[in-house]
Symmetry: C2
Amino acid sequence: MNTDSIRIEHGAGGRLMAEFIRAELLPRFTIAAPDGLPDAAELPAASPPLFFTTDAFVVQPPVFPGGDIGSLAIHGTVNDLAVRGARVRALSLAMILEEGFSLPLLRTILDSARTAAAATGADIITGDTKVVRRGQCDGLYLVTAGVGEGMPGFRLNRRRLAAGDAVLVSGTIGDHGMAVMAARERLPASEALQSDSAPVLGLVQAMVPYAAAVKFMRDPTRGGVAAVLNEMVEGMSVGALVRESDLPFRPAARALAEMMGIELIRVACEGRIVAVVEAEAAEDILAVWRAHPHGRDARRIGELTSSDAGRVVMETLTGGRRIVDLPQGEPLPRIC
Amino acid sequence: MNTDSIRIEHGAGGRLMAEFIRAELLPRFTIAAPDGLPDAAELPAASPPLFFTTDAFVVQPPVFPGGDIGSLAIHGTVNDLAVRGARVRALSLAMILEEGFSLPLLRTILDSARTAAAATGADIITGDTKVVRRGQCDGLYLVTAGVGEGMPGFRLNRRRLAAGDAVLVSGTIGDHGMAVMAARERLPASEALQSDSAPVLGLVQAMVPYAAAVKFMRDPTRGGVAAVLNEMVEGMSVGALVRESDLPFRPAARALAEMMGIELIRVACEGRIVAVVEAEAAEDILAVWRAHPHGRDARRIGELTSSDAGRVVMETLTGGRRIVDLPQGEPLPRIC
């Protein structure tokens, strides 16, 4: 294996990507946060606090059940800001297009991006378009960036994590990755298999009354809930325990995942939040989430533990216990 | 010709790109500025004023005489902010990498991006990495975004343009496009042919004492000085007159351009400013530019006229006059 060239796993949300970021990016850039690798960075010395984030989107196919690359590119950036407790204020959209790409399809995708942006109350105010020759891009790639303003009350900090804190997820797990995979491979999937691509901003806004009790938020994209929990407890004096029986899955996603031998806890969502909150606030937050159209299937999936420090442990359906480690990479390439 | 699919010219800085933006992007997004299509957009209701911009970079080859895609991606975004009178405060860097891309070359490019960012006083504070299969990208594409803070005194507005205003350029024209083309086509070019890729922030900062006299600034990238001047006068009651004898060219760039039958006024720069200023301030601004390492070849190249409204006219070396219109596209693909 050539270790001196880029591999698919370098972009796949698993261990190799984490190593790549640590070896190549953190030493060069100020991306390093005191609190691990956040999805959005805080601008220095801004008042009110401003956050800044970017995401590249290469999903294939560009239109999939429940969404498309246009709305996905907006949701991804809006969500990276939201899980930092920030409301998006402005968006940018850069496009890399392959010569010959369908203009009607591009219009559909741009309309979808516009609608998705409008739903979050933010405009796409700047952009750029590059066109490359056939064979130098696979249709189109989109890159969004966003600037957001901090909402009051959130004090997100991994150092606040303590045994007994509740681990919540705002909805079913792995729908996005499975829906894209089914569309790409033309697998026989039920119509119920839809991406969860959606803005999580409304869910975060609903948490504002309980903001002080929220210690950690992340949207589980590449590498799924497993990657988020592993990154969260890495190097910490707490572990995370999740109960398989409490993980919310859609039957259609679970059926396809079992057929493919994939664990849904490792599969990307694009409209979910994983949050760790003080146990006393868990039911209140679940209640406001469930009252929101994007949070109906919200669940408490586990808690932090003083045992198994730095590790994610799953209590399985059969009552056993096993470690859920950071995978090498996301099992499904180009799902976002 | 298939009019329902993307063409190279849609991304090439000429007439087709302008039509594409007007037909497909402006009706959908709030990119439209009262003052044409600026390189950076102002965030609504920010104090001090904040600007936001993004740029995609697909230059081939990724390393060229005088620069590489890493530093170019930083300069492009820093410059889009600078010509709005804004100092960059934070940068993002998204990468789309082709499986198999050389890791040592990537390190060189990332080091170059870091150095370029540091030279402008801004950090790259957030990023994203996606990897696609061989044949789905041509090596690597970079997308930067930037947030900048307005510098005091600039009142850039096309509506202030008036006959008699001076048209300035901060250095030699077309070096970047010709250097990239020579490197890509392995043309026999002299060592003197180097990209002008550089931050123009220092030049804009030097203009602050004369900011009130500055009416228009743009960095002439795709489509070159010709595209900037055409977009500037489009729909206005003034025209622009440039004198061919006053256009600063490097002999090496001019020799190659003549060999290839390309007009340098249509070729991209990546470290220059085109500015329109009150005639009385022109010499002062040229003096502060020339005292700066990136502005030694600054020149007054012409002025605005009440005749030829909406048009760019060149007084040729032989004393003739001809219209320099917006080209269909940049003559050189993938130069940025």
